[in-house]
Symmetry: C2
Subunit: 187 residues, 2 copies
Amino acid sequence: MKFCSYCGAQVNLLIPAGDNRARHVCIDCGTIHYQNPNIVTGCIPEWGDKILLCKRAIEPRYGTWTLPAGFMENGESSLFGAAREAMEEANAEMRDLKLFSMFSIPHINQVYTFFRGTLHEGCASPGEESLEVKLVSEEQVPWDRLSFPVVMETLKLYFEDRKSGRYIAHYGEIIKQDSKTIRVDLY
Amino acid sequence: MKFCSYCGAQVNLLIPAGDNRARHVCIDCGTIHYQNPNIVTGCIPEWGDKILLCKRAIEPRYGTWTLPAGFMENGESSLFGAAREAMEEANAEMRDLKLFSMFSIPHINQVYTFFRGTLHEGCASPGEESLEVKLVSEEQVPWDRLSFPVVMETLKLYFEDRKSGRYIAHYGEIIKQDSKTIRVDLY
């Protein structure tokens, strides 16, 4: 960020009075431009003993398998956003969504929320961002071709809970340790 | 938003190719400036049968009682942010935090997350943003002087769960119905 989005003047990186971290502050109008984490919201569409996965038609991770998810928009709720993403990516109508997992990913400034729910009538087809969609049992999950660690961790927790018959809402963190390694902490 | 924060040129509100909603797009460098909901993260500090509340020393809602909470920062997790807010607002060290509630508030583009946990040694004192802090039992909660609906809803769920002895992670939405009325939906 180099310019003030309100008045077009330059911004400087400095610690405002009463704050304790550097912010982009306009040298002219004084506006403080905060930058905060984004929410990615998605769902686990269930149909019988299967769940719905989508093969990504977009970068990053083109061609890998994922759960329907995307950036939450202003003016919507996390749950509505999850249902909207299922519709956009898989023409999937979701019912009875419940919060299932929340993961913080500090090194990319993102928080993921996943809701599980029923895929209405088991119907789905690829949306614009998907090459393919399919219903898979636990044994059919392509574990080595999943899109992101947060998808793998959510699916692992999901199948564990399903075995126990008791679903709880999970919170975890995906921490970058070095350029090739992440660590998953569950709380 | 009137100017591009990267190059300082003007932005226009238009629907980018492949998108379905209006975004601020730079007329010169073409950068799309997405605007997304913010996360407010906080905690329920527990000590015996009491919890810690803070009296706000800042607007909005100066002088009302609240749980320690604030905007999540880039580079931190939701849980770390909740602990940081407890330290900043109440010099409170939190232990064993667990996800307790998540509320979407679409009309102000916010998502709240609350974690419950132990207030280390029961110690707290007012930080810069608090006039006062106090440990209260359920009967002592100033229900008519709480800061925000999301704090009231979280505390109601908390005391219900405490009675049943079974804490679950809750998801809800606070929906504005008109200028004076909100509706709370729990899922």
